[in-house]
């Protein structure tokens, strides 16, 4: 920490004792304003969300978090099913995407021939550029029916004793399909960050391991993975953040069922972000609008907790390795 601090101080004031030049003052001001802008923006958003959800907060209180169902006709609104849907789909997607992304990153950095590396890296990153509405459409028309006709029945007949894999969905939409779609969407983020982390492992360490007679697998397990561990945790959390916030693609494939919390992942559901996207434009009462803000507040708190958690994890891992937080 101390070396970084010293160089940072030196960079800020190149000639100690002398008066700062105009350029330095301007740079300081502009950069400072930019940083302040981000902070103010977050505060404004948080204020607006809390302010908007006031009516719902006073009407439903914390019971909103436990109530399953969304009935704007009779003013019985609750967020439990959406909270469950968000948690189930995003954690599921992370579980599926992490090993895949890890594999892609390892292959691209350590194993692939040079001529494959460029095109495949570009393709993986193109995946991130596909608009979510397109992925959602593909999810409804192509992926859903394929999962319904082939994957869900197979899983149910072989592993049906697990309550998570119950009766397959008739339509191909549902929590399971949404999880798949999210997996595709967070894969490029997690894998490209992992790639950079693996590339950041010093060549001397790797060469030393190989020089000591380690096989490629032993080198990856013994040097690359431990070195990049903290960063990979951060990459996962970033991917999780993306999954939690995704609205449109999820709304298209999750089945829009608001009054169900079920262990069977093949059933329909809905997520916090998805419900807000679907309902906000057409909310007919101030209480419903306010309750949608309440959902947004839950989402905001959820992301905040996750971000802090990520920071803590990364810092702890980094400290254990004797490195400064990356």
């Amino acid at each position: 920490m101390s070396t970084v601090g010293a160089t940072g101080e030196a960079a800020r004031r190149p000639f100690p004792g002398r008066r700062a030049r105009l350029g330095d003052v301007l740079l300081q001001g502009v950069a400072g304003l930019a940083a302040l802008g981000a902070f103010v923006l977050i505060c404004l958003i948080a204020y607006k969300v809390v302010d908007g959800s006031r009516l719902s907060l006073s009407t439903f209180g914390l019971g909103f978090l436990r109530h399953v169902g969304w009935d704007p006709v009779h003013n019985r609104l609750g967020g439990a099913s959406f909270l469950f849907g968000t948690a189930a789909t995003s954690l599921g997607a992370l579980l599926l995407a992490t090993p895949l992304a890890f594999g892609i990153a390892l292959y691209l950095t350590e194993l692939a021939p040079r001529w494959i590396r460029g095109p495949v890296t570009a393709l993986v990153e193109t995946l991130a550029a596909i608009p979510s509405v397109v992925i959602g459409l593909w999810g409804v028309i192509v992926l859903g029916p394929v999962l319904r006709d082939h994957v869900m029945p197979a899983l149910h007949s072989t592993l049906g004793f697990i309550p998570l894999l119950g009766t397959p969905s008739a339509t191909g939409t549902g929590i399971f399909t949404a999880t798949f779609v999210l997996t595709i969407m967070i894969l490029p983020i997690v894998s490209s960050i992992s790639c950079e982390l693996f590339l950041g492992v010093p060549a001397e360490l790797k060469e030393a391991a190989l020089g000591l007679g380690a096989t490629r697998w032993e080198m990856v397990r013994g040097v690359v993975v431990p070195y990049a561990r903290g960063g990979v945790a951060a990459a996962m959390i970033l991917g999780l953040g993306r999954a939690v916030g995704e609205a449109i693609a999820v709304a298209q494939v999750i089945g829009g069922v608001d009054n169900l919390v079920s262990w069977n992942l093949f059933n329909g559901g809905n997520t916090l972000a998805g419900k807000i996207a679907l309902e906000f434009q057409s909310s007919t009462s101030s209480l419903e609008t306010s309750s949608l803000f309440y959902l947004a507040l839950i989402l905001l708190v959820f992301s905040l907790v996750m971000n802090v958690f990520a920071q803590v994890v990364v810092r702890r891992v980094a400290r254990r390795q004797g490195l400064v937080a990356r």
């Binding site: 704007p72 006709v73 550029a129 959602g136 029916p145 339509t171 790639c195 590339l199 009462s285």
Partner: protein
Amino acid sequence: MPKNGMLIRITLALAAAAVVSTLAVAGAGAAPAKSSGGSLTGAGSSLIAPAVAVWSQLYKNATINYAAIGSGGGIAQISARNVDFGASDAPLTKSQGDGCHGCVQIPWALTATSPVVNVPGVAADKLRLTGTVLANIYLGNVTQWNDPAIKQLNPGLKLPNTKITPVHRSDGSGDTYVFTNYLSKVNKTWKSKVGCATSVSWPTGVGGNKNDGVAAIVRSTPGTIGYVSVAYTIANHLSLARLKNAAGQYVLPTINTIEASAQLVKSAKIPANNKISITNPPKSKEYEHAYPLATFTYVIVPQSSPKAVQLKAFVTWALGSRAQSSIKRLVFAPMPSVVVKKAKSTLATIHS
């Protein structure tokens, strides 16, 4: 740090995604910019969107920009005065009317929502249903296609032993309003348990996002039943269900059957706020061929607006026979003259 390269690449990817999605949105015409000069900007109902698209081609006195963001969105946008007019399939509720601060709603087109089915082994447009059975399907009381209640209505059909999957709109929608309005009229349990609104708490089934979402699920899933705007059933080659009207006839949504339901307004007096419901016309010789799920759709304009002259000109034109007959092929029926007259008298009250 090697992070720089990654950051640049991620930024580029995100920027590309942003550009592509902006283009997609702009392409869909969903940029409700403030209008200027000879243009009118509107937003709302996706049911009326194909009709407005036709109109904007034909209408020469102003450029019409319309964003199909959904009825509720249209009401929100006109309440905030971000657009010159809103469009909604459901009449304004009390709180929406208050929130719009001096808006009037004017019926400007007549169409229907219709149940679509995907039943293996049953030919297109052959299945017969009644309102009661439809309500029981969506309540979860009738769960198999070979249920005696359905068999009884379809003596000539070979109904499969397939589970019924009811599909509904997962976004708030005017179609849902019309559909639940009808079910509330024909089924007491529905009325008390679920009710009628642009979005309701569905007792069973799965949701699809917008008309095309429901259409996609119904088309690809055997055993489903859904409801979509009539214009979408043609484009998507979906199989319609024949609905039994109060007079005992099984009818499909056509210009004639929709027009027949609208005759209801001749006998019923149009209220001051133009809120007209023509679902489930009563049992009478006059409504023998009436389609029970027909609906008016509304344009919502501020009573006082800087664009009042242009708005008046455009809506008057839209109510005229040329505009009305131009959308017949999208299954919008001509409105009864009594409704047109009332619409014009409401229109006369708006001013700049």
